[in-house]
């Protein structure tokens, strides 16, 4: 006796979600609750896993098991597969553990053949309905099971309509449907070389295989990656007796939510159509009626439905999304599930359910997906408008929100047009630090290259601006001031719309919704703050970002990237003078010009953060990032700087690197040019002294980046401490400060016990750490990772979701080694992962003190931290 792979609805319940899938377990639960459910059986997710293990075959054991369940199903429904007089027709639907709406395949009306269709016609007294169902089944089966595209059949329909001189399908009569059935079958045979299968059992087995296969179609793989669903889960298959809502005016079909999925308001929300099948509601040919109208048409059915809906919501203690069909005045429930909802609705429902005593606060906190909060803090496209517009390209969703505007291809134009009150979208091959002002001025940024942690992505998230990167559909023709997106020519000044939450790009302007933060948000987030143990800081490079971070609940700055302060027009000149200097004296002279600017930046941030800790990372990027590449620009700059073109060009060539990410950057700059660290120390310490004189109590945290060895850290730390202590001593006031390191090089993690003898804190820079641990250049990985997703080698982007097996092992090891030599060491994370819920949970579990993320992700991190604490 082998493993059991098939379950009747009456054999399951909602706790069996893992093996029955969401749809299946809920059908079983409703059966258990005595609700009217057309009965059937579920082929488990384990059967799907086995199907893949067996090289995409269904074993004969499983086939026999399915057949025996068909017999039981026939008995329960008192109908028979393939029986002309009393045929059992079934729907075959996917149903994974997690809801993946629309990603996988479904087949309706299975069981029809040339004989059974006549029986169906007799039974319903409706020839057109029967043959329409049949031709739909042929079409669906051919498409889903046999891979003959649906549109091939549409061509035949169009031909018949043309011959008849009509425009709509609905104008085709029973005879036309019969003709379509015949032509569809002929076409099928011409392609496949064999007749359309007439054996209902064979149809079923093939349909089951097709549903299993659809688990690995491209869109399902992408959906899983976006939603952290493992490919190992597999899908279950629900085989359910068909009921017909199109048997006349006492029949109908509909969908309804127990609360408003857009606002969360507590009222039944949905719509229905009389004399119709589910498809018709979606097809939009007839306008459905609001669910409340059912009360007038079929009061008893309505009351029964109301009762069921209430019972289900109470039972699941969550808002339900239900599908039902009425067949000849009898209500059947086809599905229930926790309803998808907007972020605003999610918060309101969570808070309401606590107030209604249906949920505890902890349960309510666990109900809301942290990532959803993003939508609350950024504008989104109006969903109904979006439906009308085709996607012309899809890139990596790098910074959430939605934006439309006129396209400009360089930062200068973007800035100039934004100044004239135009809404601007900056479109670039990739951005560089020189583009920052143009990025500020734009509504959104779109790049053809780059990944989740490319320059554009990181900067845009910091600004809270919508951004799509690595959009392969773009072909740039910058010099001609145009580009092609998915083959469509887009000229400078044309409107496009981009969605930083999905990565989609649209032509024209799609209207957006406003940001709405309801009162429920405050309540809900205060609950989260009570529960969480992890501190949440923000990455902020200036006082505006810092103020934004405080607004979103940040408890400090975990990462202030000082180089971002050097790109302003007046500052970059001094920076460049520093870079072309030949002696420490020349460098000090140039750095002297930067000192007051940087000091005043720090004062602004310290004040904005009101005494919360601020971690300042010293200069990190390779110096060539501050210099131009093109001869024309080099010539201009040389002129401005009063040095020769050859001299400047030679400097730029000497700074060129094969792999700048592993080049002369981070603390390696401070080792070569200690005077840079001296200047930055001076700026930090003087700023802290000045601000503390105004009554604040700042304890600045100086962070040395890219350390790989304790001696290296010691060398740079000595420069900092010597400079700082001299300034403090001569100021005559007391000031505490900390010196720590950004732990982002594998070797630093491996030798963290040594590093910790010098570092007072570690802030894990998981962007770089991921990069080095995988050997993935974050600027280049996008291209080849696509192949990895397609082959299910990777299921998520390691730059988005912390890789706990490899990178996480290193982080954990470093945390333990660090604590072993300095028990009170402060540990945090400041990579992009600081705003990713699963990564936040990992940080909680290994006992870090805080996470730091871009200001707009602070609420996400707060909620994720609370959830981690509750789960722990």
């Amino acid at each position: 006796m082998g493993k059991k792979y098939v379950y009747l609805f009456s054999e399951g319940n909602s706790s069996m979600r893992d093996i029955l899938g969401g749809k299946g377990s809920n059908l079983a639960e409703m059966t258990l609750l005595g609700m009217p459910v057309p009965q059937g059986f579920i082929i488990s997710t384990e059967a799907c896993t086995k199907y893949y293990e067996d090289n995409e075959t269904i074993s004969s054991d499983l086939e026999q098991e399915i057949y025996s369940y068909i017999s039981i199903m026939e008995d329960i429904n008192k109908k028979k597969f393939g029986d002309v007089n009393n045929p059992l027709l079934v729907s075959v639907r996917s149903g994974a553990r997690a809801s993946m709406p629309g990603m996988m395949d479904t087949i309706l009306n299975l069981g029809l053949n040339d004989e059974v269709v006549q029986g169906l016609a007799a039974l319903t007294g409706n020839q057109r309905f029967a043959y329409d169902s049949y031709r739909r089944f042929i079409q669906m089966f051919s498409d889903v099971v046999m891979g003959i595209e649906k549109k091939r059949f549409e061509v035949i329909i169009d031909k018949v309509k043309k011959e008849k001189g009509v425009e709509n399908d609905i104008e085709l009569d029973a005879e036309d449907m019969k003709r379509l059935v015949k032509e569809f079958k002929d076409y099928y045979k011409s392609i496949k070389g064999e007749d359309f299968p007439t054996d209902a059992k064979k149809q079923l087995i093939e349909a089951v295989k097709a549903v299993f296969r659809s688990w690995n179609n491209d869109r399902a793989i992408v959906y899983r990656r976006m939603n952290d669903i493992p490919s190992s889960w597999g899908t279950a298959v629900c085989v359910q007796a068909m009921v017909f809502g199109n048997m006349g005016i006492t029949s109908g079909t509909g969908v309804a939510f127990t609360r408003d999925p857009a606002t969360g308001e507590k009222k039944l929300y949905g719509e229905f159509l009389l004399n119709a099948q589910g498809e018709d509601v979606v097809a939009g040919i007839r306008t459905p009626q609001p669910i409340s109208a059912l009360r007038d048409v079929m009061p008893e059915v309505f009351n029964q439905f109301i009762e069921i809906a209430a019972k289900l919501e109470n039972h699941y203690r969550d808002m339900q999304d239900m599908e039902f069909t009425i067949e000849n005045g009898k209500l059947y429930m086809l599905q229930t599930r926790n309803g998808k909802r907007t972020a605003a609705a999610a918060l309101r429902i969570a808070v309401d359910l606590v107030n209604e005593k249906m949920l505890t606060i902890d349960e309510a906190l666990l109900k809301v997906e942290p990532k959803q909060l993003d939508a609350l803090l950024h504008p989104q496209f109006v969903a109904s408008e979006l439906k009308k517009i085709p996607v012309v390209g899809t890139g990596i969703a790098a910074s959430p929100g939605a934006a439309y505007g006129r396209v400009y291809f360089n930062a200068e134009s973007a800035k100039a047009h934004a100044a004239q009150k135009e809404k601007v979208i900056l479109v670039r091959l990739e951005t560089s630090p020189e583009d920052i002002e143009g990025m500020y001025a734009s509504e959104g940024i779109l790049t053809a290259r780059g990944g989740k942690t490319s320059h554009a992505a990181v900067v845009a998230r910091g600004m809270g601006k919508c951004c799509v990167v690595g959009c392969g559909a773009i072909e740039m023709h910058e010099s001609e001031r145009c580009c092609e997106i998915g083959g469509n020519l887009v000229r400078e000044g044309d409107y496009i719309s981009i969605d930083g939450s999905t990565g989609n790009v649209y032509l024209g302007s799609v209207p957006t919704t406003d940001v709405t933060v309801s009162g429920a948000f405050e309540t809900f987030m205060s609950w989260a703050d009570e529960r969480r143990v992890l501190r949440v800081r923000a990455n902020a490079d200036n006082s505006a970002d810092a103020a934004q971070a405080i607004k979103f609940g940040a408890e400090g700055v975990g990462l202030c990237r000082t180089e971002h302060m050097f790109f302003d027009t007046d500052r970059i000149a001094a920076m460049r003078e520093m870079i072309v200097s030949k002696t420490p004296e020349q460098r000090r002279h140039a750095l002297g010009k930067l000192l007051p600017m940087q000091r005043s930046d720090f004062e602004g941030i310290f004040k904005a953060m009101k005494g919360y800790p601020v971690t300042i990372r010293f200069l990190d990027p390779p110096l060539h990032e501050f210099l131009p590449n093109e001869d024309k620009e080099i010539r201009e700059l040389a002129g401005e700087m009063g040095i020769s073109f050859d001299n400047l060009k030679a400097t730029i060539i000497s700074l060129h690197e094969q792999n700048p990410m592993m080049g002369h950057r981070g603390c390696r700059l401070a080792v070569s040019y200690p005077e840079i660290a001296e200047m930055q120390t001076r700026a930090v310490i003087e700023a802290a002294i000045n601000v503390n004189n105004e009554g604040y109590e700042v304890i600045p945290e100086i962070m040395i980046p890219l350390v790989c060895d304790v001696k290296e850290l010691r060398y740079v730390k000595n420069v900092i401490v010597k400079t700082a202590d001299e300034i403090i001593k001569s100021s005559g006031v007391k000031l505490n400060y900390k010196v720590g390191t950004m732990l982002e090089i594998p070797r630093a993690a491996l030798t963290a016990d040594e590093i910790a003898t010098e570092a007072e804190f570690f802030s894990f820079g998981t962007n770089d750490l991921t990069q080095m641990t995988f050997g993935f250049s974050r600027d280049d990985a996008g291209k080849y990772l696509d192949f990895y997703y397609k082959q299910n080698i990777f299921e998520s982007d390691p730059f988005g979701k912390l890789d706990q097996t490899g990178v996480g092992k290193l982080v954990k090891m470093a945390a333990e080694l660090g604590r072993s030599s300095r028990p009170d060491i402060k540990l945090g994370i400041c990579g992009e992962h600081g705003g990713d819920p699963s990564s936040v949970e990992f940080c909680h579990n290994i006992g870090l003190n805080y996470v730091s993320c871009s200001p707009f992700r602070v609420p996400i991190a707060r909620l994720a931290a609370a959830q981690a604490a509750i789960k722990g």
Copy 2:
């Protein structure tokens, strides 16, 4: 009572080398043996370490300790510091644990001042000698202790000579010397603002400090890095009573070796000068006599010296290098140490000492420095010629040997001129795979950029060609067919000479010695092979390299880089066709052209290796390496390929990467284009079948590079196994093969237990592993690592010597994890470290099965492996 820092010679012995240094402990040992040694004391290496801990100061405790030892020394020598009638003069010399000849500073004749010099003159009856000694002391003290360059004083000497109308120093008389003393002191005062110090004790303390400081001068730091000497060791300081070999014709001085340091022949070898001081022997003004001539002049002294020499060699059981002085017919031993010797001499002496029963075989094996064997296998510059020629630039010694030839600036010219029997040196900014033929044709390669594992370095080592990379002194003017080296203009066709063992570059042609492998080499290496446990393989990419490897004793190929086979003119075309292909079918078509070539390459290697295992790494470099960069070349290539310039240019742009080292390469290529792995599998398997049909028994090992995750490995392995098994099945013969991975990504090491479930072997690719673990781009690190060496942050190049603390920890962890899930997994290393002795020792200690290195380093690895086994 504090720690003891000062030791009389009579308080020490040769086992105290660590604290007394080499020179000091040997002086103590000779004292112990009753040999005639001018007595003195040693300030220990621990005092040096403390000096640095105390921020470069000498504590007053140590100062007092030194003073008290001066008193004792005065008593022993019956002379007195600063005593006009009976003055004690001393030499102050450095002496570290390891010999660092000429790297640190020495001061002679210390104790002289205006009064003492008169006493010395009276005592010796030689005014000129006394004042000459004094002016030398002033010059040396001012230079070493006070930082006043020696040449400033030479200017004064030149002036005096000019005024007197003489040319040589020797023509200056006692009065001239007196005048020089006065002018030197005046000059000293004008610079320092104070009189030259007259107090002998003060002179001594300052001299001691200067010797301590010289431990960290630039050349000492470089020497330590080249010779793996830790900076923490510090130097001792020997203070020894001066004896004078220039007191007349019954005095003299000399140096001698107990065996010939050039050949190893057993005979006293050396030279001496009568009436002279040590300096004079070196200065070369008078020609010294061979040591045998001493027999005729002073037979008793000679016999005494012969006896001492024999006693010392027997005592130390090694060839001795001795310095002596004869003062008024009395012999004094000033130094003995194990003598430096050529590689040939080292082997002969080691074998002879075993035959003379002075050493066991194990002891003899430990006597030879493995790296020295390099010199046996490559030509070297004739040492005497080298002395005459200044170094114009120094780069990284990338591949040993010496070469001279005419300079050409591109591979094409190099090849053309070599074909005309010219000796050619290829000089490039950096090399790329397209240069390979030109590199083959050249005597040596010199590049301005790159590090120890740059393309030029790796390829040159594989070819056994002399190579210097990253020579910053070069300014390239390729378009004008010239360059500057250290400011000297070098035109195409000019001669230069490069030394790949030191990194030095010379103008003109320096003659080279031939390679000489004596019979002692065979004996010695056979002893090594008996002792070692580690297997030694070679990295070889073609049958010629493989044959070379066998000649040097390799027991297999540990790394065959298949991409090197694709750069020949006839092959690169097919490779390029493959790269620009748009579909798998097009790619397969192009790959089909490469198949027969690659198969025949493998057949050649398998045959050359005579059944030894061969590990074949599948395609590794990013594809853009096979395509040109310049528009001109792209246009030409597009023409050849029959595609449009725009099309080809677009392909090249799309392949561009920010950080190619972490880009689309290694097994990432096989994941994207499995058809490449299919073709390579076919070539390997068919070649093995063909060769085995001829009677060989090849078990090919297929190595998948750059793996980071077990699923990725599984995917590529499946492609390989499916292809291989089909070919084997249809061939009808039996063939075993292994599939393993190059372990070179930190994440693979961290998850090695998972990886080992699929990999039958790991070959640690420590080049890339070092790169990712440190975050150092090996192409770029040279520039910033210089700062690290200067600051003593790093003491060796992590790409040359395996970093055991970080990278080694990862290797050890991976070895253990790998064995935990596959106990019989085969473990090896195939990075550059496979030929580095300390790294080989590490590999032995953690239990790897083999190391693999370039063919010319195989003997080094064999000896290092034997030494590791003996030490273990």
